[in-house]
């Protein structure tokens, strides 16, 4: 009896149990309301459990009770830092269902706006990723450039964050006269500014030691986790929906798909930096070849797609964003299912984080680039 008690006392004294750290839902660097339950041995992570759903709004269910045109604004609020890209996915899905031919000019303007949004989203990612690792200044620099994009959006769409740019069948308005010049002005400053961030980070010893070899994800595993977007390309897999299944006018533009070599955080960082430059290159081509003409196709006032189903995917800044629509011939979809890239990419957090330190978990959440509006829907 006494021995047992002594053993128990010894166990409580010397066998340190794992510490459970509840990171979030209110935490500076979980990018919203993500709750990560960490099991720690000292500061080493032994287990990661993501608790999501704090921002669940039931968008997919709401869609079943709304007309096709009314659903579009809900898409702005999925990945709210890339509203324009989300819109593109949905309206193209409905257009596919309706079999509407969108005017050329509208296609080109859609490409320009989506690529601007991709740059804005990547800038926000870079800023927050850097601030998670401790480089505060990069955030402010990124916001300076993002502001320019948001101003362009504001003058065209009227909103900055949840920019509701597209309508089923094209664009609501044509762009304002100075639009082209303003986008060109922005493209002129952008490469220099990207160089500026790279000067701050690319060869910075601390940045390197915080990102190189952290969260290593081999190509095979990335595919098995069904990751998409820069997280997949960082592991060296050349999959980009813009190239694999060209949508909108992307087939007409010439661009590279940057891929990483090792699949660590540093590679994913390089990938996204290169993607920003490629986006700028695409916008330039689209502006050069911007055709004249109408921006809206002939679409009936009441949208009643024929009975059928469709899956449409685009390359959103975070990865493959897909929509699966089932129409029963009425004015409301029978079922709408979203394939959110953030949600699926978030599954890789556990795979990447176990064995690293608490500080790395923060860096890894940053490198996956999640937006909780999209994860929770």
């Amino acid at each position: 009896m006494q021995d047992q008690e002594a053993a128990k006392a010894q166990a409580t004294l010397f066998d340190a149990e794992e510490m459970v750290l509840n990171m979030g839902p209110q935490h500076p660097s979980t990018h919203g309301v993500l709750r990560v339950i960490l099991k720690l041995d000292g500061e080493t992570v032994t287990d990661v459990d993501c608790d999501i759903g704090y921002l669940h709004r039931g968008v997919e269910k709401i869609a079943e009770n709304d007309t096709y045109a009314m659903i579009t604004p809900y898409w702005d609020r999925l990945d709210y830092v890339a509203a324009v890209s989300n819109d593109l996915c949905y309206v193209e899905g409905v257009e596919k269902l309706l079999q509407v031919e969108v005017p050329k000019r509208a296609e080109y303007l859609r490409v320009i706006l989506t690529e601007l949004q991709r740059i804005a989203s990547h800038l926000l990612w870079l800023g927050t990723h850097a601030i998670d690792i401790g480089a505060v200044t990069v955030l402010l620099y990124c916001f300076r450039e993002r502001e320019e994009i948001l101003k362009i959006f504001e003058d065209f769409i009227g909103a900055r964050l949840t920019a509701h740019a597209f309508r089923i069948g094209g664009l609501w308005w044509d762009v304002y006269p100075e639009f082209e010049q303003r986008v060109r002005d922005f493209l002129r400053i952008l490469p220099g500014r990207i160089d500026e961030y790279e000067t701050l980070l690319n060869t910075n010893r601390i940045w390197l030691s915080r990102t190189v070899g952290i969260g290593l994800l081999p190509a095979e595993e990335a595919i098995n986790l069904s990751l998409t977007g820069p997280v997949l390309r960082g592991s060296g897999v050349k999959y980009d929906v813009r190239k694999a299944q060209p949508y909108s006018a992307y087939a007409e533009f010439d661009f590279e798909v940057p891929i990483g070599e090792n699949g660590d955080t540093y590679d994913r960082y390089l990938c996204r930096m290169a993607e920003m430059r490629q986006s700028a290159f695409i916008i330039e081509q689209a502006l050069d070849g911007l055709p004249e003409g109408p921006v809206m196709a002939k679409v009936p006032k009441v949208i009643k797609p024929p009975v059928g189903e469709v899956y449409h995917a685009i390359e959103a800044p975070k990865g493959e964003l897909g929509v699966y629509l089932v129409s029963d011939g009425t004015g409301k979809p029978y079922r709408m299912r979203i394939r959110p890239p953030s949600y699926i990419n978030l599954q890789s957090l556990k795979r990447m984080a176990v064995g690293h330190l608490v500080a790395d978990v923060v860096a890894l959440i940053g490198t996956i680039d999640i937006v909780l509006g999209e994860v929770d829907r």
């Binding site: 660097s29 480089a135 200044t137 402010l140 601390i206 940045w207 390197l208 915080r210 050349k238």
Partner: protein
């Protein structure tokens, strides 16, 4: 005691008149120090408040924005508004916190930081509260008590983030204090005194700032001081993006302000030690005071002696702010180290560098001793009881400092760290990439899908 008594400065005549001839002892040991303490505390606490403002302005300057602009012209009253807000805020003690320790921790922190101000030589002659003959040792000893405040705060908060912050800060401060202690010894060999005023006077006598004799020591000191004061890139104990606020997560209102005060006071102290030890302290504006006191009409306004002291204070403060600016510059440009990397930097880089610097400086010093004392080169002379480097001696020490110590220490560090993960990340990355390519060619890994 005798030593302290002689170095303490006698009270000026008007104070002796005030207290009476019989009470000279009181004037010397109580009245004058109390006046000085009040002035220094008032000035330093104001400066601490304004350092926050300066930090915000500097960060705004670096980040292409304006910083505080709303309260007063250019936001100059911002520290006042901040202080008022913090005093008026609710003082929350968490329910499960160890109350007594929780309340004591910020006091320990701020007291340790402020006590040290007693021996900082703000200027020549009377412009220091107390010139203790072990000044530097006193600073090191008392400022390391400050870490106790952080550890107790983290422990008593009964919060996991605070606990992690406290663990980190105790490990970090212990390791960086060693490096800090080692880095100053090289300069002390030249100064041959621990008294802060004595160190400045030694540099005056040598006619040389010790940063030129001791470039490695200065660098190691600056980096270790960053670690010691929890400044970025070593701000792990309060790493905002990881630990929310680290050890002071649970603090609010004025107790939180005390921690901030301690932090900024610690910056002032480590910077002032850097200025005293390596940058010539309050020297540097002698030419200006000579120029001004050359004009006889100024003598009716201010005596040449007092003018010299006031200008020396200016010189000290200017250097102090230059060092503080460097600290801020570093904070707003660099990312944060990870905990294990921080330890590695401390134990594998800073401490060996500090040790090697001591040995090498010792060798250079012994070689340069006068030939009568057994030196090889005889580049030093005995001047009024202390050894002073001759003209060639100065060139010799600067040359050995930069061209001798720096490359040798770099070689030693490279030898120690050549197997470490972070030593040459670029090469390692290229190696990984090459290995992966080879595996891909062998077919050990699935080929990346093409487009």
């Amino acid at each position: 005691m005798m030593e302290i008594a002689t170095t303490l400065l006698a009270a000026p005549k008007w104070i002796i008149d005030l207290v009476g001839k019989d009470n000279v002892f009181w004037a010397d040991y109580v009245v004058v120090p109390v006046i000085k303490i009040v002035i220094v505390l008032f000035v330093v606490l104001t400066v601490v408040a304004y350092l926050v403002y300066v930090e915000r302005k500097v960060s705004a300057f670096i980040q292409a924005r304006l910083g505080p602009m709303r309260v007063g012209p250019w936001g100059l009253l911002q520290p006042l508004a901040d202080g008022l807000k913090l005093i008026l805020k609710e003082d929350i003690v968490p329910l499960k916190a160890d109350k007594a320790v929780f309340l004591l921790a910020p006091i320990i922190s701020v007291a340790a930081a402020l006590v040290v101000l007693a021996v900082v030589p703000w200027g020549a002659a009377w412009a220091t509260i107390s010139s203790v003959n072990i000044g530097l040792l006193f600073i090191l000893a008392v400022s390391s008590v400050g870490v106790l405040g952080l550890v107790l705060a983290g422990w008593s908060s009964n919060s996991k983030y605070s606990l992690l912050g406290a663990l980190r800060s105790s490990a970090q401060m212990v390791s960086y204090e060693v490096a800090l202690g080692l880095s100053i010894i090289g300069a002390l060999m030249f100064a041959r005194t621990l008294s802060m005023t004595g160190i400045v006077e030694a540099q005056q006598a040598d006619g040389m700032w010790y940063v030129l004799f001791q470039p490695t020591g200065f660098l190691v000191y600056l980096i270790s001081a960053l670690g010691e004061t929890n400044r970025a890139p070593f701000d792990l104990p309060e790493a905002e993006s990881e630990l929310v606020a680290g050890y002071h997560t649970e603090y609010s209102g004025f107790r939180w302000a005390l921690f901030m005060m301690a932090e900024y006071a610690a910056i002032i102290i480590t910077s002032s030690v850097a200025v005293t030890l390596f940058l010539g302290g309050w020297t540097g504006l002698g030419w200006l005071s000579n120029l001004i006191s050359g004009w006889s009409w100024t003598h009716s306004i201010i005596s040449p002696e007092n003018l010299q002291v006031i200008l020396s204070i200016f010189a000290f403060v200017a250097k102090l702010f230059a060092v503080i600016y460097v600290y801020m510059w570093i904070r707003w440009t660099w990312p944060r180290y990870r905990y294990d990397q921080l330890m590695e930097l401390g134990w594998k880089w800073m401490i060996p560098a500090g040790l090697a610097n001591i040995v090498l400086t010792g060798i250079w010093y012994v070689l340069a001793l006068p030939k009568t004392s057994g030196g090889l080169f005889g580049l030093m002379q005995n001047q009024g009881g202390r050894l002073v480097a001759s003209g060639w001696g100065k060139i010799y020490f600067i040359a050995t400092g930069f061209a001798g110590t720096v490359p040798i220490i770099w070689g030693i560090l490279a030898l120690i760290n050549r197997r470490s993960r972070d030593f040459n990340l670029h090469e390692q990355r290229q190696l990984q990439v090459r290995l992966r390519r080879e595996r891909l060619q062998k077919g050990a890994e699935p080929q990346p899908a093409g487009d």
